[in-house]
Amino acid sequence: MTGAQIAARAAKHVVIPKASGKDRAFAAFFQALMYGAIGLSMLALATLLYDVARDGAPRISWDFLTSFPSRIIPANSGIQSAIYGTLWLMVICAVIVVPLGIATAIYLEEYADRTKWWNRLVEVNIQNLAAVPSVVYGILGLAFIVRGPVSLGRTLLAGGITLSLLVLPVVIIVAREAIRAVPPSIREGSLALGATQWQTIWKQVLPGSIAGIATGVILALSRAIGETAPLLVIGAAVNPRFNPDGLGSAFTALPIQIFAWTQDPNREFVELAAAAILVMMVVLLLMNSVAIFLRNRYEQKW
């Protein structure tokens, strides 16, 4: 349907002799509904934060941050191993996802000929991967990386690779948008001065889009550290009383520790989950602030 057809149809149906009281009442009612809908989302977020803060804040202390989890005494229990695990996973993810995501985005935006079927396949495939449930990535990790062809065991590296594959589509999609925002005139100017295509990309396109790409990477990493399901499926350790000491080490992460505590019948352990959530949310908030800062400070206006 074209715009003109829609307008014609609209003109046929919307016949309003004068603003009747009924119309005005409906408009007021509908606006109230919309305010209600927006208000509901805000209320949900506020209640959620309030609930977590109320349960968790009294539990946060230096001891909580630096102790290992205890199965028996909630008061001696902490999240040191979970914090270390999450930091390790974040670094592994960044190392894998940054080159792979940016390279894919550059290929799709700067090189791929869209009339070729394999390039369209890559594109549709990435859209689909972005919508595959995270628990399915856990299955992939279990069958392919922990066991099977790669057989890394239940290690940090296996967890990091699984999470990387999960967030890779996010990085690619955001990086593509950033690259697309660099106007063609920049590329044409560079090529006209005799630069090769790669020189143009490396010296002009990437510097011009780096802020957007960095934002995408940070968003992807903050998604990765909040993921629970894939790590559960590949078998992260529960309540380990040691920090990971390398890529081949067993590990836990903040969401896994939180999940383990919510499953505990002892109410005091459940409150520890809230405290760990608070720590995780602070980390996420910091990362998002950095992303917003980067976006505002370095974003190029063309």
Binding site: T2, G3, I6, A7, A10, V14, V15, R24, F30, Q31, M34, G36, A37, S41, A44, L45, T47, L48, D55, A103, T104, I106, Y107, Y111, V124, N125, Q127, N128, L129, V132, P133, S134, V135, V136, Y137, G138, I139, L140, L142, F144, G148, L168, T196, W198, S222, G226, E227, T228, A229, L232, V233, G235, A236, F259, T262, Q263, A273, I277, M281, L284
Partner: protein, 308 residues
């Protein structure tokens, strides 16, 4: 210029380098295709050996899902898990569809710029909250304090109502953002035409802009549904871990994703029937979300063609 270059050049070192770069970049892009192949391969492999043990008809149409029982009492009918997934998603969408559409419509058609500047980041924060936090919220606040104490409902500690509603809240930002995008890409001339015929803003939004953006709106809903179907942790924590084929929202239900996460732990032996159930349920879930996602991609493409 010391020398003439012929029209057809031999590949120089420089252009060979350019070719190599292109090859490397394509290699990176191929990783995502390999990921898909690996997912399908690992799912298919164990699914096929599962169907060597259990007839496919028993799996698809059986109404009892009891893999945790002893071998002679095990039953592998997937319907309770599929039903649990759809039931919870349904409850979620009852919340998320009206709230998401109305929020998106408000942001696109009504919100003053200053209000938008406040609301958009809040929705982004809501979208960025890890799902385990929603699970915690459903278990420790929504079920006991809102449903039990507030509304006086006789719900179980783990129940579909709480998990479903919180699932809906999770999906609201997804739907609202996509609906806003769909509606704001409707050309301004339609709004002007409608206003010129004497319609007020609500009439314009509801009867002109909304129908014009309909395929985008439907794509948003489909994507929201696909997100809800694949969501794991909220249901695992607050919805319970009991396969259930009933209609009572106060009871405990299990979804496909929650079953996978509850069953797959590190120490499950490879090749056991329990191990295979993870994959066959994962395959079912994968097919569900794949279909929904293809539908949504089609719809988005269709509505882009109209105005661009």
């Amino acid at each position: 210029m010391g020398h003439r270059t012929s029209m057809v050049r031999r590949p120089s070192g420089r252009s060979r380098f350019e070719g190599a770069v292109k090859g490397i970049l394509f290699g990176a892009a191929a990783v995502s295709v390999l990921t898909t192949i690996a997912i399908v391969f690992s799912l298919l492999n164990e699914t096929l050996s599962f169907f060597g043990d259990v007839p496919i008809g028993d799996f698809l149409f059986g109404t009892k899902w009891t893999p945790q029982f002893a071998a002679d009492q095990q039953s592998f009918g997937v319907l309770p898990l599929v039903w649990g997934t759809l039931y919870l998603t349904g409850i979620g969408l009852i919340v998320a569809i009206p709230v998401g559409i109305l929020s998106g419509m408000y942001l696109s058609e009504f919100a003053p710029r200053r209000v938008r500047k406040v609301i958009k980041p809040i929705l982004e924060v809501l979208a960025g909250v890890p799902t385990i936090v929603f699970g915690y919220f459903a278990l420790t606040f929504f079920t006991p304090e809102v449903l039990k104490n507030g509304l006086g409902l006789d719900v179980n500690q783990f129940n579909a109502l709480s998990a479903g509603i919180v699932l809906g809240i999770l999906v609201v930002p997804t739907i609202a953002t996509l609906v806003e995008d769909a509606m704001s890409s409707v050309p301004q001339s339609l709004r002007e035409g409608s206003a010129g015929l004497g319609a007020n803003r609500v009439q314009t939004a509801v009867r002109v802009v909304f129908p014009a953006a309909l395929s985008g709106v439907v794509a948003a809903l489909v994507l929201g549904a696909s997100r809800a179907i694949g969501e794991t942790v909220i249901i695992l924590i607050a919805g319970g871990q009991q396969a259930n084929l009933s209609l009572n929202p106060y009871e405990s239900y299990q979804s496909m994703a929650a079953f996978i996460a509850a069953t797959a732990r590190g120490d499950i032996p490879t090749g056991s029937i329990k191990y295979e159930t993870i994959f066959v349920v994962g395959m079912t879930l994968f097919v569900f979300t794949l279909i929904l996602n293809m539908v949504s991609i089609r719809l988005v493409r269709k509505y882009r063609q109209v105005y661009e």
